[in-house]
Symmetry: C2
Subunit: 374 residues, 2 copies
């Protein structure tokens, strides 16, 4: 039996240990430490935004961003937010916790990003914003989304959790939103186990985020005019982020090389492989999703089980949000089908894409896939 191949493994071969030791030596391990400040400043700059605010994780970053923008623009309760249905639950949480209503739009079949041609049919007079998510390694159609946003006077929240260093028309993801959020979860191109950041060029948004993430403390210590949360990130997390950020281009190169190897190894399989590129972007392969051809009887769950028996870990693709049991419970379901998302969930999964993956691992994975699918 081949050794276990995890779906992801990070790589800490930079200054991670050195910077963590610095935190201990100078006693700065909590929020507002020097690495937190450096990440906020330099990562914002890298992504083409003016300000950054480090947050405990990407889910919380999205939550505090919507909270801040709802407050700032005085969106009423039940205002509607456009959300790609093919997506992790975090954007639903951000909406619901802020008494906003998520409206789900299907994805397109090529990049799994929101189908921009289907957005307008979901707009109402209560729509306030679009959450633009970049999925798996290829960016959303930023220009089309910006055009719709301008036409209908909507704000854009850019969820770039999976898109560190990714470019759309040679412009960095994270630069397109009125506010943008990132995650530094273990499997991200820049990782610190858990972590997140909000970026924006709007001073009022960043001030609100900093207020709400710090328990709504004011200058009069311990007097509160609003309800906040503690979403502060530690300097320890920021130290690792900073070390990872220093080698982001190298990480992207590794992932693209891995992606290209898979493309060659798997090209003859009866599966849809990710696009190597679109007219606007090169894939940076956050993960490597494959979609089993419709005519094969096997579904993604069965394929995952068979691969697991061969010591290969996989992950299902996102379960469409409009189908989630919690959405039904909340009464946010409708009778509209989103067939593309539903199909790719049933027929898709992603295969190992860790930074320490070897060519032998990939050859073994390819052999197993050929054996199962042919």
């Amino acid at each position: 039996m081949n050794k276990f191949i995890p779906v992801y493994e990070p790589l800490f071969d930079g200054n991670e240990k050195k910077y963590l030791a610095e935190c201990i030596d100078n006693g700065w391990i909590g929020a507002n430490g020097p690495f937190v400040q450096k990440v906020e400043k330099e990562f914002a700059q890298y992504c083409g935004q003016k300000y950054g605010s480090c947050i405990t994780n990407g889910t919380a970053a999205l939550d505090v961003t919507l909270k801040s923008m709802k407050d700032m623009y005085r969106w009423e309760d039940n205002s509607e937010i456009i959300v790609p249905t093919f997506n992790i639950i975090s954007s639903v949480l951000a909406c619901v916790y802020n008494k906003l209503k998520p409206i789900f739009v299907d994805c397109e079949n090529k990049t799994f990003n929101i189908d921009t041609e289907k957005i307008e049919r979901h707009l109402t007079k209560n729509t306030k914003a679009i959450i633009m998510v970049h999925m798996y390694g290829l960016p959303s159609e930023a220009d089309s989304i910006k055009q719709i946003a301008e036409q209908y006077n909507l704000k854009i929240i850019e969820d770039a959790a999976q898109a560190h260093g990714l470019e759309y028309k040679h412009q960095k993801c994270g630069s397109f939103g009125d506010a943008s959020t990132f995650s530094f979860f273990t499997n991200k191109h820049i990782c610190s186990g858990e972590g997140g950041i909000v970026l924006t060029s709007d001073e009022e948004i960043i001030n609100k985020v900093n207020y709400y993430k710090n328990l709504c403390f004011t200058k009069e210590k311990f007097i509160h005019y609003d309800l906040g949360q503690n979403l502060r990130m530690t300097n320890l997390q920021a130290a690792v982020i900073y070390a990872q950020f220093e080698k982001i281009e190298k990480t992207i190169k590794i992932k693209q090389d891995l992606g290209n190897i898979y493309q060659d190894l798997l090209s003859d399989l009866p599966v849809k492989l990710p696009e190597k590129e679109t007219p606007y972007a090169k894939n940076n392969y956050w993960v490597f999703p494959i979609i089993i051809n419709d005519y094969l009887k096997i579904n993604s769950k069965e394929l995952a089980t068979k691969l697991r028996e061969k010591n290969i870990e996989t992950r299902p693709l996102f379960y469409p949000l409009h189908k989630q049991p919690i959405i039904k419970k909340l009464g946010y379901n409708d009778n509209i089908n989103r067939p593309v998302s539903e199909n790719i969930y049933n027929k898709g999964l992603y295969i190992p894409m860790g930074l320490t993956l070897t060519k032998d691992d990939m050859k073994y994975i390819s052999d197993c896939l050929h054996q199962i699918l042919n």
Copy 2:
């Protein structure tokens, strides 16, 4: 001018650096890492509970605990939770975010903990639980609170954020609640910058906490039946906590020594010093609060300003929750005075109590206080 004396400084002279390096070497920096598991198991054991669940911070720990217990015991919306009014905002947040109503009880003048004689007058048929907070270094009257809880069939949530290793009748704080929460914020006896934990001996509570803190993931990955949050703690934070936990008795000793020195230096001042001990406990001096005698005209704000001019940092005491602007905004205010809490806020502050404080620092602080107050 004397050098700046911060109100708190941590001390990292144990295995902090070694354990952080281990995280990087073995690649485990995220949630569920070995240090997270060790902290959950061993800290629970130390505090006399069966289970632990590491959380991003103490505020979040309280939030997810109330969420779990509300769900488990099927408390209706607007159920009432007894909360000491002399307290940080976190218990209000935990109540409000879970649609529970905080009911504020004044503190007693000796230890600043909830006045157990005033609890019963605030109970109604909708009261479901008491949040028992241990304030500043001396424990709440656990026996009285437990007796009231039994008599009226209330649950106890023990907020031991400030009470690592503190004992009440030779039993560790954290062992008295149906669930207990701790904070590992920078100024705590065990610190990791940010961090928290929920302890309980109830398997159902810990399962709920683990469910809600991890986005309500189920075995069917990415399918959600409930709304959760991401409140996972990193292995990096847990590594520092574990190193600090190893030397908790030494830390308590340092703080008690500092406390005793202040007691000697300041005994002749017209201020109320903290109790060295109560019939049930020895002070472990999380912080060192002083309350200016009523007959002096100076209030805490003025004293803080004068000390700051001498490069001495202080913190105000907690602003009573029942007086908070946000409580009025939420309609949770009433016309009941809580005079003890109101007075100690006006007349109290706490002075530097960092782990690296020297005798010279303390002598200087004492000299300044004598100069200002005499």
